[in-house]
């Protein structure tokens, strides 16, 4: 039986890196790990990309205690893999923070709402900015809203694709339950893997959505829609 990896400064530095960025693509994470190994690893080995899951698993073993987890998200719209630092619960103690004002966190919730309830879960940038009008209490300028959206994009909460704002890997990692609880009608579940599907492939004869990868695997064996049983015709 292989011995468990000892928990070293490599793990600590990597945990900090992901926490600081909020979200890192697999490539970014690998670059970071290379630099961290060079600095903190005892020995000459150079890590490969395949070493990342083991490092992440060790860190998660410790983060569990604080309801935190580094989640692996395969983000289908950009066909990119991400590692996301997620908070798994949102109790009162978790809400204590001094970085965003109440209006700013309200804006975030409003963008989530608008995106969840929009067809195909995407929004024009101007829609996001206009939501500042709905904020009660201290007003947010459009300039500030733009700065916030920019920050949130960098952290991986949202992604701009084809000029439209989409849910990013960090929302998928952290807000899945929040969205399915608050917007049950609009959020879809992939019947093949039973997980939420944010941007999947739709059957053209029934309202079911599936993950692209789930459907690819399925179509190797079968040709009908898992939902309505009609012949599946949407390209995957």
């Amino acid at each position: 039986m292989p011995t468990a990896m000892p928990y070293t400064d490599v793990h600590r530095a990597f945990a900090q890196a992901i926490a600081h960025h909020g979200t890192m693509s697999a490539k970014q994470a690998y670059k970071a790990l290379l630099a961290i190994y060079a600095k903190y690893h005892d020995g000459e080995e150079i890590p490969s990309e395949d070493d990342i899951p083991e490092v992440v698993a060790s860190i998660n073993g410790k983060l569990y205690r604080y309801d935190q987890k580094i989640c692996f998200v395969h983000y289908e719209p950009a066909d990119t893999d991400f590692y996301v630092f997620c908070n798994l619960v949102e109790s009162q103690i978790d809400r204590i923070q001094n970085y965003y004002s109440e209006s700013e966190t309200t804006l975030f919730r409003l963008v989530l709402r608008e995106m969840a309830t929009s067809e195909e879960h995407k929004l024009k940038p101007i829609m996001c900015l206009n939501l500042t009008g709905e904020i009660q209490g201290k007003q947010l300028s459009k300039v500030r809203a733009e700065q916030l959206l920019d920050q949130w994009e960098k952290m991986g909460y949202f992604v701009q694709l084809g000029g439209m704002w989409h849910f990013g890997p960090k929302v998928i990692g952290e807000f899945d339950r929040y969205l399915t609880t608050n917007y049950p009608e609009q959020m879809r579940m992939c019947k093949l893997c039973k997980e939420s599907v944010f941007y999947g492939v739709r059957c053209d004869k029934c309202p079911e959505s599936f993950h692209r990868d789930c459907m690819k695997k399925y179509l190797r064996r079968l040709t009908n829609c898992p939902g309505c049983k009609n012949l599946w015709s949407t390209p995957v």
Binding site: A32, Y66, I93, Y100
Partner: protein
């Protein structure tokens, strides 16, 4: 609610990048702790185990609160920690914070440092997780200004008047009024932001015979922990175009040579 998490920091993209600290050596990893009270052996006395559970809960809450409040790098007030994480129970603070400190160091490589006579804390990192190039543009600019200010204070042996600081910056075409094209609101950064973040300490001194108070600046606790004097010295020397040995006092302080000298002096005195 968006958070940078992490420890920090967030500060992260919300944190704005890691605080470079290359001074402390790597800490030894500790054995993993039990993740919940249920893994503890059953207690003989029923009530003591529920106290353990409560204590354990408080440690978890304290770690979470420290991480969340460290994002903007402001001083974390002990009172806030007691109120939020300990439900107002100040008695247990010493015990809880000891364990929380251990866990922050073990899991994340964070050090919780007390400042201002135990009334506040800052969270600093004992591992570097990225290079300067990793930081956002905005962050890098602020850091550059900070380096200049800390460098000037260091070269002046730790204590400068506010006017002296402005004069120094003016020589570099950095004005204390208005928006600087690269650094932004320099006055606000130096007099407010860096002070709140414990990079600088700003003290007021009433000078006899003068009508207005004068302010003085020194290195704050965060600067002491996050930045190495060596790096600052070398940056200033690059700016001045001279090798660091030309500045004997600062070079000795940065390379840790002062202590030996002081030791020798005291021995001379006692032998007389």
């Amino acid at each position: 609610m968006p958070r940078s998490s992490g420890t920090l920091s967030q500060t992260s993209a919300a944190r704005g990048g890691p605080g470079p600290c290359n001074r402390a050596g790597p800490s030894q990893s500790q054995p993993a702790r039990p993740t919940g009270a249920s893994q503890k052996p059953p207690q003989e006395n029923g009530s003591s185990s529920s106290v353990d559970v409560e204590l354990d809960h408080m440690v978890i809450n304290l770690v979470k609160t420290v991480l969340n409040l460290s994002v903007n790098k402001h001083l974390i007030k002990k009172a806030d920690l007691v109120k939020n994480a300990l439900g107002g129970n100040g008695r247990l603070f010493a015990k809880v914070i000891e364990q929380a400190k251990e866990e922050l160091a073990d899991v994340f490589g964070y050090k919780l440092v007390e400042t201002e006579r135990n009334k506040s804390f800052i969270l600093v990192s004992t591992v570097t997780c990225g290079s300067v190039m990793d930081m956002s543009e905005d962050y890098r600019r602020k850091y550059t200004l900070l380096y200049l200010v800390l460098g000037y204070i260091y070269m002046k042996n730790g204590d400068v008047s506010e006017q002296g600081l402005w004069d120094f910056l003016a020589k570099l075409n950095i004005s204390d009024e208005g928006e600087h094209s690269f650094f932004g609101d320099v006055r606000k950064l130096i007099t407010e932001t860096f002070v709140k973040q414990a990079y600088l300490v700003r003290t007021k001194q009433v000078v006899e015979g003068m009508n207005d108070d004068r302010f003085f600046y020194g290195w704050g606790a965060r600067a002491e922990h996050e930045l190495s004097k060596k790096d600052i010295l070398e940056s200033i020397c690059k700016l001045m175009g001279k090798p660091s040995i030309c500045y004997i006092t600062q070079h000795a302080a940065a390379y840790g040579l002062n202590d030996d000298d002081e030791g020798d002096d005291s021995m001379d005195v006692t032998q007389n």
